[in-house]
Every structure is written in structure tokens, then in C-alpha cells.
Amino acid sequence: MKKYLIITAFLVSLVGCSEDFLDKEPLDVISSKSVFEDESLTEAYLYKLYDYLPSGYGDTGYGKEYLLSSIVDESRTKSGWIASNTTIVPGFISPTNNPIGIWGKSYEGIRRANNIVNSLETSSLDNNFKTRISAEARYLRAWLYFDLTRRYGDVPLITVVQNLDDDLLVSQTSRADIYAFIDTELESITENLPLKSDIPSNEYGRINRETAWALSSRANLYARNYPKAAASAKKVMNSPSGFTLNNNIDELFQSDRGDSEVIFEVLYAKPFKGHDFDRYNLPPSLRSDWGSQTNPVQELVDDYEMAATGLPITDPASGYDPTQPFVGRDKRFYATIVYNGATLKGKEIDIVYPDGEDALLKSGLHTITGYYIKKYIDESLPFGPAFGDSKISWKEFRLGEILLNYAEAQNEASGPDATVYEALNEVRMRAGLPNLPAGLSKSEMTERIRQERRVELAFENHRYFDLIRWGIAEQVLHDKYFHGMKITRDGSGGLIYDPTFEVNNRPKQIFLPKHNLFPIPQGEIEKNSNLEQNPGY
């Protein structure tokens, strides 16, 4: 009998039998008390919040696989199944289907930003540390509200960490008040952020003071608060960090960090953070599959002026030769667009219809406009990059935009004064263009500024919002097919250029007045009776 008692005791000892047997601790959770009392953990929490910053490459916020460019007059995307073609271009955005909606995700980021700001108030960490982290979190929160309000208009403004038993049915705050909130926030944090030039290399990529000014200039421009927009832009232009336009535009868009023109950029570092831009956008001859998703349209190509004269190609005096359409253009054209005969990754690209290796419509994998995109293509990558192989940074704020923000704001606020010319000519000079003619009226200057923004900032996700805030989106986009370049050979081997090739194998663009705002998601309207749907949805 004893024998068995011993065995039993042995069995019990194998497993243990006490109550705390059930008190298991999770093996992958950090206790909630420790985070905001620990600098490294607080920074890790902040870095997760940084991850909510969008990149136009499509890995955050903007939906995948296309730039916002393919839903405006910059480009079309070839694949029929991509949301641009299935939903956005044909005007099917609805409260239940909005592939470029950012509602839920933005509020996730806002909650985290609120958490940092609130928690640091009572934290016993070093004050300098807290001040800077808190300022960064407030910057990110301001960005998220900016992105929300420019898309949705009036949105709920939440600045506390809500509990589940709070009143969660928050009403909308007007767009004007959201912009005011952003302005106040940016105003009060700038002094707490270091200048870009003061940020050590191991902190590179964190928000600097000029970024707050840059966002202030952009947000105030959107808010039509022009004097403030100009003032903020001026602060960036005069910053002791000394931003300068890079005369080599290719170099600017090949850089993965630290270009002299860049104020703020989203960085990549393989293998944990890489993007797919090259995989999605290389011409067929330079990749194994996918690719060619961003096909610039003729309308954009036509808007690049002739370098020598600074005149649009429609001007007979411009020097434009329709039989050699790609000769003598604005430098930015060559840095932005892959055209027939362009060299990409050391290879001359042949888009001649129908036999060229990368010819228009040659297969479902080829361009539908006769162009491919050059901006952001990483020439240093080997053939056929995989997903996540791309590393070129996303330049959210650069001096080029700030100069144009300044010119537009200053022109709106006080007309085309010398500083407006100065800013605009600085941008033009870098593009190899002559200065603007003197004596332009305010509205002529407005047109010049819009033209300059179009070509300077192409594919940088500005055009969609610019068209809307200028009130011309319907006029530019609605009921339109855009065009491409069909190049064929004549009998003697010479090339025939047909820039009237209509890109009608993809839906005609529908842009109705309601599309100036996104619909608020249907589920949110159903859950929160205090929300009001935007008109037209």
C-alpha cells in the first residue's frame, strides 16, 4: 500500500496542486504601470504612434497598390481590379465602400497620442524628456486630425483617452475649428521640438521644429488662413537648419535619407520596414511580374514647359516639336516620367507600339498610357525587386512644397509681391526654367502657382487635395477619359507620335460635387446617432 502512496505523492509533485497554479502571467505582455515611467518603453510607445504616419507608397492609410495620383489627372492605373478603377475613378465611393477611407485607423492613432499626452502629465520621468515626447505626440495628433478633416470635413475632436463607460457618441466639430485646433497645437509645441540641425543622427527621423511649421503652413493654406500659412512657410525657409533645393532632382528622389531639401521624411530599413513601390511600378522589362501600376497621362506630360523658353508647349513660341515631344522639356519631366527612349536602370525603355518590349497595351501587364513612372523608382535595386525591397524615403515635407505654399499663401494674402516671385523663381530655376515674366496679375499668378504645384509636386499626393481645395476637381476630373501617347513606326522606321490616344479601357472618371468630401462610414453613422453624413451620400 505504501508503495502506491509514494507513487501518488510523486505524481502530485510532478504537477503541483495549489491555487496559484491558476495564476499564470502572460508571457508577452508588459504591465501597464511600467510604460510611462520608463524612457525606453515610452519611446517605443511613441514609435508605434509614428507608424501611423502615412506614406504615399501605399503601406499606410492610403490603401494599397496605388498612389492617389491614379485617381486624378496625373496617372491611371492599369489593373482593372485595383480600387482606383473599381471604385474611386467611376465614382462609386460610398459609406459602405471607401478604399481610401482612413476613419478608424486615424482615431486609433489619436487615442495613442492622447494616451501619451495624458500619461506623461503624471509621469515622474525627466521633464525635458516628457516635454519633447509630448510635443511629438501632439504633432502626430495634429497631423492625424489634418488628414481626417481634409478628407471628411467635420469630424469628432477627441483629445482624451476615452473609457468604455464614457459617452462615446461624440458629435462633429466643424472643419474650421479642427483647423484652429491644429494651428493652436502646432503653435504651442514648436518651441519644444528641436531644430532639424540639432537632431543627432541616432534620432534622425523624429519630428523637428520645422516639420511643425511646415504642417502649419500646409494646414493653414487648406484652411484659407493665408497670412498664417505664409508666415509658417517663411519660418521654414529662414530656418537656421538651412534647407536648400537640390539641383539634382534625380538625386533627391533617389535618396533614402538626409537630402538637403527634405524637412521631414518617413524612413525605411529592410527587412522590417520596406515598401513595394518598385515591385508595383517598374516597366515589364525590368521586373518579373506585377509592375506598371502608375501610368502617367498625357495631360500631365503636356504640362511640363519647354526648358529654354519657359513656355507651355501649346504656345507656338515655346519651341516644342511634336515630332520630338520629349526633347527640351522642364528638368522635372525627366525626373518624373519614363517615356519612350528614356533610360531607366541603365536600360533604354522601348514603348513603341505594338512590338516594343514595354509597349503600350502589349499585354495586361503593360502601360495603358504609353508612360511609366520614374519618381521614386530606385535605380540601385537589382532586377525584379520583391515586395518590401524598396527603401527610398517618403518625403512628406520638402522645401519645394514650402516655397510653393509660401507663394500661394502670400499671393492670396497680399498679391503677387516680390517675395512671391522670389519663391516661385527659386523652384523654377532648379527645374532649369527661366524666371516668370514680371507684372502678372494676382489671378495670373494664381494660375502660375497652380501650374508649378502640378509639375513640381506630381505623384506626391498633393494634387487630389489641391483640386478639391481650389474648387476645380469636378471641372478637371468629371466625366473624363484621360489620354496617353501611342507611338508607332512609319514605313521608314521613323516614329509617329499620337498624344490623343484615349485611355478608355478603364472607367471614365466620375467626380460629383459630393466627392469633395468622403462619406462617413455607414457603420459609424449607425452606431453614433450624433454624426451627420456628408451631403450627397
Binding site: P156, N202, N504, N505, E526
Partner: protein
């Protein structure tokens, strides 16, 4: 099984006869005859249960045995009901044995014990090894559909090693984990890969009365698998071998190049685009002068052969009994790189250490290897679906084995055969150690201690290789080479799971006259741990070494995770029955789960049940044709604690990050807000049923009606929380779902001379209704989930296709742009709120879910001399599948059925007008694509022949030799013609279900 039992009894009886008898005994004598025909029965075992002495009847059915007053004599004979008679003054006892037609004495494995079927008051169904090994599937879980009531199983894929069905007991009732609790030999283990030859029986516990002993994990029903144990005194060997061929049940039909070129031209014209092919090209495809590739034939050319071998030994002596088994299974898939194989070994040993102590040790090991191509069959079948028939699959002019590009996105042949390998190897070790002690002083009381240790490890390795394939320019004829991918990659991971279970129990079993009592008290605890580690590299300079160290250093990645769990519980159960007539059972489990806060951790799960065997009442004992009639009723509560772990704690987890400075900085984020009140879901179920057996077992049946209310269902309160809250939500206990259902089994069996047959019909019908899910009060009825079936679908109501422009102009605005994008041949949707616009406000509840509400089986068997034939039809009904067909997406190929698309010439078409991919309008979720998925299939048929016991065989030492031929899924009847009715919703991009032919042999020696 039964036969062996009697063999053993018989030899035990002979052994006992040789002992000297004690003096007070008297000699009892008598004659045993058959009740049905009055013939004497020779060879009947007669045992004095008091002394364990035994005897057998002679040629004339006569016997004699020594016994004293008060002893009980037991008479048993194969095929007859065992009879026990108390010895009184009489010295002559004549016995009539009834035929044991209804298997009423069948013993069923129940939770923590066994019970005679006739005494069961809950709702259980059970099948034995014989039925499991009939037409055996490689995956045991697929063998149960149609054989047991209460089981709702649907096989979604036929891929070797990845063919586990969705498996529900009495339907789904929770928003979370609906899977049943599965125990193999009393321990929570997976069962789908257990070697069927090792299994003695499978029991499904369905109502709360049967499952309450498993407390907080039993709400979705319990499956008990019991493995075989040694039962004979002499070693008997059994060898089984099967060999089978698989082919798809349905081969999807794609357009050939002639059809493709013709119809894609139509689609492009419909989209306002130019035709893709000139009339001359179309003609060339049609008359065969241009390529016509059948990519399915090029790719789906694996062997599809399954081989199974099993050797087992069953034997022992008085002290020790053993069951040993070794099994091997190798299943080749329909694709070349698709294989599943497993080796399994089991040793179940029972050793009587002393009169009162038994030690049992069960050790089982299994190695399972799964192989698929690195890109996986989903990708392969997707690419077959898309590949253009207009391009050649090979380029012999380039060289032998030069493969063609599919015209779109690679080559399915490369994906299947040359993309590298994805292997998953499971090593499973399972052990049970059990010590049972029968108390000396208290008769009928025993104590058992058990410890179990299981260790499962998994090794995944995915080695992805580039491959060169070729394409030919349509115009110039130039052939160019493409790499399928830029680099060699290796993705490897390991994980291990350890589970320990400790259990002590006291069993009491005693009868006083007509009062029978049994009781159980039990303590059980389990704990488990899991960890996982992964590593990745790419940039291998050569495919020759598929090891991590051989990879490049640019893209090193590694990761891991870990978790633990613990549970404990106390179980009590009391059974009482009076004269086998009135049956009562009460049981409860006091259970705790680590998954909840200390204060919310413990719970009591009680259950009560009762049975009334009416046929034993005096007023029915004289009714000859009724063998058994029993009413059963039960009520009980069980729980479900299987929700994401530790939701009662707040905290932070590592997640994501951002590039700062020179590298990627890890980020952390907050968990969902904690819910300290979180606790298990509770299911309260009531079951009423009756069993009957008539005409000596010729007609049997069971009927059950059940209701189940699952409340406190864990669910995040997303229906009422706006996303401006900014966080995912913790599960809360609030939803309530009701299930109702009936189950019916009818059986008939008869023998006439050498011929006997049996028929069995079973069906399960379950419906569900959401009672509460905290929907806001003002949610419109059309999208309201409350009051609707559990997995209700929502979408637009399609009203056929537009036939003319005027119909479109007069219809509600469907595209938000005055129907400008709509054309004749597009789907027309109902404007249910009559506001002139078809939008989100016209979405309503449509159709049925993917889970069948009715599932049924029909089994028929017949035997004549050495032959037996069994067949089983299995069907399911009252469910729907979303059969969306996409024409020419990305200009890919299409299914042939799309030839029946709308055109001005074909206005009565089954599908909308062709376009490159379904248009936005036609792709909207609607009733258009919902199809009734009801099916009936000949799940299996088996013809077997057992050789008679002729000398030439027995001389070889062979006791039994059986050959059989069987088939699975040979016939399928369904309204869905272009794919298997059990497949998943969506496109045909899944590994198809298979039908098979099998030959097998079974030898016992």
C-alpha cells in the same frame, strides 16, 4: 471484440474449473435453451459470480456447477443476452436465453467512465471501430459525417494533410470558438490524424447532462475517442492494408483558346475597349493551328494514391494485457508536390500488479509530414483558373522541360512543381500513466490516479526557389526568358506544445437488490505551455543547401511567441437506477480557468437527467414486440472559456515600430482596454428523447429534441461602440444565441438464413437565432441581426438582369450616377426603401449561411455468407454558398459556364454581360450569386469478402482473411454543377475534394 471477450471468458472458466470446491456448496444443474426456437444451446458459459467458478453447457445444453445460496450465476453466449440468476433453494435451474438483437447491453464510453447504453439518460451517439475502418478516410474527422447524429461536418478541401473539415456538434452557437472539446483517452488531443486502426470507439456527447463533467470547456459538445486495449489471453495479430486512388469529385471546366479568344473579345467590346484578338487569330485558335493549352491537365498530374498499412497485436496473460499497433499512411496528392505521410505507434498496456492494483501505461507516438509546394495549392489553383489557354505550356524548341509562361502571372506548373517545398513535420508524443486501486474494505469502491504528458513539436520549412520560364511574343514570335522570382528564400519555424494533466478519482459502484448506485468524485488539473520561434533569410547563392546558415545576410529576420494555460476542476456524479427501470443522474463540475480574473474564475456547471424504461413496466412486459422503450430527459449547464487569453489584464505588447536613426525601432502598443469581469460563456441545454427497439431488434430508433441557450457569449461590443473610441475592444459577456434542433435515428435489421441486412437512417436538424447582441435599438429591421439566424448573410436583392436601356432608365439609381455606368445585361437590384437609389440602405438579410441546417445519412448493409456490402449516402441541405464567377479578371481565363453570359442574342442568360472582371455593379454582394448548396452523395460503398475457415488457410495460422473494395464520394447530386458542394464560397481557387477507389485486405493470425 465481443468474440474475443467470450474467448477469454471461456478460457478463464476452464481454468477455474480445476480448483477444488468448498464444502458448503450445492450442485446446481439445468438446461439452457434458446428462447426463440426452444433448441438446446451447447457451449454457453456459466459462471458463478460469487466464486468466479465456471462451466459450460454440453451438447444438449445441460450444465452443472457448484454454488451456495445467494450466489449469482451468469449465463452468457455469443449473440444472446446475458442472464444472471440468484441461487436459492432450487438445485435445478433451467434458463431461456433471448437473442441479443438490439445490442442493448452495449457499453458506451461516457465522460470519465462507461455506461450501458440502456442506462444512459443523456444524449450521446457512438460508433465502433468496425464502422470507423470501413472505407477509411486519411482524416478520421471526415469519416464521421453521416454516421452519427449531431455531427455537422463539411469538408472544404481535399488536400492531403490539410483536409480537416469544419466540424460542429449540434451547430454553431458562439461568436467565438465553436469547436467541440476533443479528448483522446480522456486527454484533450487532436483526433483527426489518429490512426483509425487504433480506435476502439468514438462517442459524441451532445447534451449538457453528458458534457457537464467537462465544465467550462464543454459548451460546444465533446468528442471522446477511445483507443483499443488488450483483451485476449493469446496473442492475435492483425494486419490491414489498403491502397486507393483519388481523383477530384468535380473538375472545373475552363474555356479553351477558341472560346477564350471569342468571349474575351466580347468582354472587351462591352467595356468599350478594342477586341484582344483579330478574327483571324480567333479562327486559328478555333481550328487548332494556334495553341490550345489545358492548364489543369498540365498541372494536376500527381499520383493521387494513398497507401495504408497497419499491424497490431492484441494479447497478454492473466496479469498483463497489451495492445500494440504500428501504422503507416502515405497519401500522394493530385499535384506532384503534395504529400501527407504519417507513422504511428501505440502501446497500451494494463498490468495487474496485485489483486487490487492495476497499472496502465499508454504510450503513443506519431510523426506526420505534410508537403506542399512553396507557393501552396491555393496559388496553384488560382493560377490554373487564370492561365491563358492561348499560350503554350512548354517550349520544346528551347529545350527539354522549358516551361511556358501562362500569359498573365507565372505558370501554375512552376508554382506546383518547381517553386520549392513547404514541409511541415509534426512529432507527437502522448502518454497516459494510470494506477487503479480496488478498495478491500468497501466493495465497489475504487480509486484511480492518472498522469498524462503530451509533447507536440512542429517544424515548418518553406524553401522558395526561382525558376525560369519562357514566353513568346504574339506578334514577333520572339521567345524570351523570365525568372519566376528574384531570389531564393527560406522561411523556417519551430514550435512546441507541452500539456500535462493530473487526475484523481474515486468510483463507487454497488447494487442492493433493485437499487443500483454508482458515484464518481474526481479532481483534474491541466496545464500547457507553447512557444514558437521563426527565422528567415533570402539571397541564397545556390539552391543546394536549404539551411538557414546558407542564406545571405541582408534580410535576416527572426521572431517568436510564447503562451501558457492552466485549468482545474472538481467533478461529482451520482447515478441511481431502480431495477433498470427508473434512471437518475446528477452531476456537476466546479471548474476554474486561468483565462479569467481570480474572482471570476470559478464556476459550477450542474446537470440532471432522468430516464424511464417503460418497456420494463409490468403493463408492457407482456407486449412481445417491444424489446425496449425508454424516455429520456435532461437539463444542464456547461461553459466555454476558449477566448483570447488574459483579457482581464491591461498591459502593452510589442507591435510594429518605426525607423529612427539608423535602424528599425520596435514599438509597443496598448492591449485592448481590460475587462476584469470577463468570464466563460454558459450554455443551458435541455434534451428530451426516446429510444425504442421493437420486434427483437428488427426495428430500432432514437429521437431527440433539444434546445440550447448560450448566454454571456463573449464578443466585443463593436455594434454599439464608434470607432472614434480608437481601440479594438475586449470581449464582453453579453450575447445570447438560441439553438433548437431534432435528431432522429431509425434502424432496421433482419436475417433470413445466411442472408442478413440492415438499414439505418439518421438526420440532424439545427437552427439558430440571435437573441441579443447589444445592437442599438434603432437598427433597421433589414440589417438587424437580433432575431435572425446566427450566421445570417446580408446583401442586396438581385432582380434578374436588365434587358434594355429603357429598363435601366426607369430603374432606381444603382451607381450613384444616374445609372450611366449600367448596361443591359447588368444585375438589377431591388430598391427596398423606394428612395430611388440603390445603396447601403437597400442591404438586407438574404439567404442562408454556409453551415447546413439539415444533415443526414443513410446506411445500408447486407451480408450473405462471406460477402458483405455496405453503402452510405450522406447529404446536407438548407445552406447556401456564394458562388461568384469572375470573367477574365486581369484578362485571365474564365470558367466555361460563362459562355452563358447575357448578350443581346442570349437574353435568358445565367450570368451578367461579360466584362473584364465582373463590373462594380455586378460584383456587389447580392442574392444573384447565392446558390442552394444542398447535396446528396454516395459517401462510401464497400464490398467485402471473408474467406471461409477452410483448412488451407487455418493451416497457415490465419484465422480470418478479408478482402474489400470500396469507393468514396463516387456519386454526388447537387444543384451546384461547377464545383464541389462542400467547397468554400468564392472562386474555384481551392484544392478540390476527391473521390476515391480503394482495395484492402485484412488478415488475422
Amino acid at each position: 471484440m465481443k468474440k474475443q471477450y467470450f474467448k477469454w471468458m471461456f478460457s478463464l472458466a476452464l481454468l477455474c474449473c480445476s480448483f477444488t470446491m468448498q464444502s458448503q456448496e450445492i450442485t446446481i444443474a439445468g438446461k439452457v435453451t434458446s428462447a426463440s426456437d426452444g433448441e438446446p444451446l451447447p457451449g454457453v458459459n456459466v459462471i458463478n459470480l460469487g466464486t468466479k467458478n465456471g462451466s459450460t453447457t454440453g451438447f444438449e445444453g445441460d450444465y452443472s456447477i457448484k454454488a451456495k445460496k445467494g450466489d449469482v450465476l451468469e449465463f452468457s453466449y455469443i449473440g444472446m443476452k446475458t442472464v444472471a440468476i440468484s441461487v436459492n433453494e432450487k438445485t435445478i435451474i433451467n434458463v431461456l436465453l433471448q437473442e441479443d438483437a438490439s445490442e442493448l447491453d452495449e457499453v458506451i464510453v461516457v465522460g470519465y467512465g462507461k455506461q450501458r447504453k440502456i442506462d444512459i439518460t443523456g444524449s450521446v451517439s457512438s460508433i465502433s471501430s468496425k464502422e470507423i475502418t470501413r472505407a477509411p478516410a486519411a482524416n478520421l474527422a471526415n469519416s464521421l459525417a453521416g454516421k452519427l447524429t449531431g455531427v455537422i461536418s463539411t469538408q472544404r478541401s481535399g488536400q492531403p494533410g490539410f483536409d480537416s473539415p469544419s466540424f460542429l456538434i449540434r451547430g454553431a452557437s458562439s461568436f467565438g470558438d465553436n469547436s467541440p472539446l476533443i479528448l483522446v483517452d480522456g486527454i484533450v488531443r487532436s483526433f483527426s490524424r489518429v490512426n483509425p486502426n487504433e480506435i476502439a470507439n468514438v462517442t459524441i456527447l451532445k447534451d449538457a447532462a453528458s458534457t457537464a463533467v467537462y465544465g467550462a470547456r464543454a459548451a460546444n459538445g465533446v468528442i471522446l475517442i477511445t483507443t483499443k486495449r488488450g483483451s485476449s489471453n493469446q496473442s492475435s495479430f492483425e494486419y490491414t492494408s489498403t491502397y486507393s486512388w483519388q481523383t477530384p469529385t468535380i473538375r472545373p471546366e475552363f474555356m479553351n483558346s477558341g472560346e477564350y479568344s471569342e468571349y474575351i473579345n466580347i468582354a472587351r467590346l462591352n467595356d468599350g475597349d478594342n477586341p484582344k484578338y483579330t478574327p483571324e487569330e480567333v479562327q486559328a485558335f478555333k481550328n487548332g493551328t494556334a495553341p490550345n493549352t489545358d492548364w489543369w491537365d498540365e498541372t494536376v498530374n500527381g499520383k493521387g494514391i494513398t497507401e495504408q498499412h497497419n499491424l497490431s497485436v492484441n494479447g497478454g496473460n492473466e496479469k498483463t494485457k497489451y495492445f500494440l499497433s504500428f501504422g503507416y499512411l502515405n497519401q500522394e496528392g493530385l499535384l506532384k508536390t503534395s504529400n501527407f505521410n504519417t507513422y504511428s505507434v501505440r502501446s497500451n498496456i494494463d498490468n495487474k500488479i496485485s489483486d487490487r492494483v492495476t497499472l496502465s501505461v499508454d504510450l503513443a507516438g506519431r510523426k506526420e509530414s505534410r508537403l506542399q509546394s512553396a507557393l501552396g495549392p491555393a496559388e496553384v489553383f488560382k493560377h490554373i483558373d487564370q492561365s491563358l489557354p492561348t499560350v503554350p505550356a512548354t517550349f520544346p524548341e528551347i529545350g527539354e522541360g522549358a516551361l511556358g509562361w501562362n500569359g498573365l502571372n507565372g505558370s501554375p506548373v512552376v508554382d506546383s512543381d518547381y517553386s520549392g517545398k513547404d514541409t511541415r513535420v509534426y512529432n507527437i508524443f502522448q502518454s497516459n500513466f494510470k494506477l487503479k486501486y480496488d478498495f478491500e474494505k468497501i466493495d465497489g469502491l475504487s480509486a484511480t490516479g492518472m498522469f498524462s504528458y503530451d509533447h507536440t513539436s512542429r517544424e515548418n520549412k518553406k524553401f522558395i526557389l526561382p525558376y525560369t520560364y519562357y514566353s513568346q511574343d504574339r506578334v514577333t514570335g520572339v521567345i524570351s526568358a523570365h525568372e519566376s522570382r528574384p531570389k531564393i528564400e527560406l522561411d523556417e519555424s519551430r514550435n512546441k506544445t507541452i500539456q500535462k494533466t493530473l487526475r484523481f478519482s474515486l468510483n463507487y459502484d454497488k447494487a442492493w437488490g433493485d437499487h443500483n448506485i454508482s458515484a464518481l468524485a474526481l479532481y483534474e488539473q491541466t496545464e500547457g505551455e507553447y512557444d514558437y520561434i521563426s527565422a528567415y533569410r533570402d539571397g541564397f547563392i545556390s539552391p543546394s543547401i536549404d539551411q538557414i546558415f546558407a542564406g545571405g545576410l541582408d534580410n535576416l529576420k527572426n521572431g517568436g511567441s510564447a503562451s501558457i494555460n492552466a485549468r482545474k476542476g472538481y467533478v461529482g456524479r451520482v447515478n441511481y437506477n431502480y431495477a433498470g427501470k427508473y434512471l437518475l443522474q446528477a452531476n456537476a463540475r466546479y471548474d476554474a480557468s486561468f483565462n479569467f480574473h481570480k474572482d471570476k474564475r470559478w464556476g459550477v456547471f450542474p446537470a440532471f437527467s432522468a430516464g424511464w424504461v417503460i418497456s420494463k413496466e409490468d403493463f408492457l412486459t407482456n407486449v412481445d414486440f417491444i424489446d425496449n422503450l425508454k424516455l429520456r430527459a435532461s437539463w444542464g449547464q456547461v461553459g466555454n472559456d476558449r477566448v483570447p487569453q488574459f483579457q482581464f489584464l491591461s498591459g502593452f505588447k510589442f507591435n510594429g515600430g518605426y525607423v529612427i536613426g539608423n535602424g528599425y525601432q520596435k514599438g509597443i502598443f496598448d492591449n485592448k482596454p481590460p475587462n476584469v469581469l470577463i468570464t466563460w460563456e454558459t450554455a443551458t441545454s435541455t434534451n428530451i428523447g426516446f429510444d425504442f427497439s421493437l420486434f427483437n431488434g428488427q426495428l430500432t430508433g432514437e429521437f431527440d429534441y433539444f434546445t440550447k441557450r448560450t448566454k454571456d457569449i463573449l464578443r466585443p461590443n463593436t455594434a454599439a461602440t464608434p470607432s472614434t473610441f480608437g481601440s479594438s475592444l475586449p470581449d464582453e459577456n453579453f450575447a445570447v444565441v438560441d439553438n433548437h434542433g431534432i435528431e432522429l435515428v431509425l434502424g432496421h435489421r433482419k436475417s433470413v438464413g445466411d442472408f442478413s441486412y440492415n438499414l439505418n437512417l439518421n438526420g440532424t436538424f439545427v437552427t439558430s437565432e440571435v437573441i441579443d447582441m447589444r445592437e442599438p435599438e434603432d437598427v433597421e429591421d433589414r440589417i438587424r441581426k437580433t432575431g435572425r439566424p446566427f450566421s445570417q448573410r446580408y446583401g442586396l436583392i438581385a432582380e434578374g438582369l436588365f434587358q434594355s436601356q429603357s429598363e435601366i432608365d426607369n430603374w432606381a439609381d444603382q451607381d450613384g450616377n444616374s445609372n450611366k455606368s449600367i448596361q443591359p445585361g447588368d444585375i438589377r437590384y431591388r430598391d427596398i426603401n423606394d428612395d430611388g437609389v440603390v445603396d447601403g440602405f437597400d442591404v438586407t438579410h438574404i439567404g442562408k449561411s454556409e453551415t447546413p441546417e439539415l444533415i443526414y445519412g443513410f446506411n445500408a448493409g447486407a451480408s450473405y455468407k462471406g460477402f458483405d456490402l455496405n453503402l452510405m449516402f450522406q447529404g446536407a441541405s438548407r445552406f447556401q454558398r456564394y458562388v461568384f464567377v469572375d470573367p477574365f479578371a486581369l484578362e485571365s481565363n474564365s470558367e466555361k459556364i460563362l459562355k452563358d453570359s447575357w448578350s443581346p442574342e442570349n437574353t435568358d442568360a445565367a450570368y451578367p454581360r461579360l466584362s473584364i472582371g465582373q463590373t462594380n455593379n455586378n460584383a456587389k454582394g447580392s442574392t444573384f450569386w447565392l446558390k442552394d448548396a444542398s447535396y446528396l452523395r454516395l459517401k462510401n460503398i464497400e464490398l467485402a469478402y471473408t474467406l471461409p475457415e477452410i483448412e488451407s488457410i487455418t493451416d497457415l495460422g490465419i484465422n480470418k482473411l478479408r478482402f474489400y473494395l470500396s469507393g468514396s464520394n463516387l456519386l454526388t447530386f447537387s444543384k451546384i454543377k461547377n464545383r464541389d458542394p462542400e467547397g468554400p464560397s468564392g472562386r474555384v481557387t481551392f484544392y478540390p475534394q476527391t473521390k476515391s477507389l480503394l482495395v484492402g485486405v485484412n488478415v488475422q493470425f
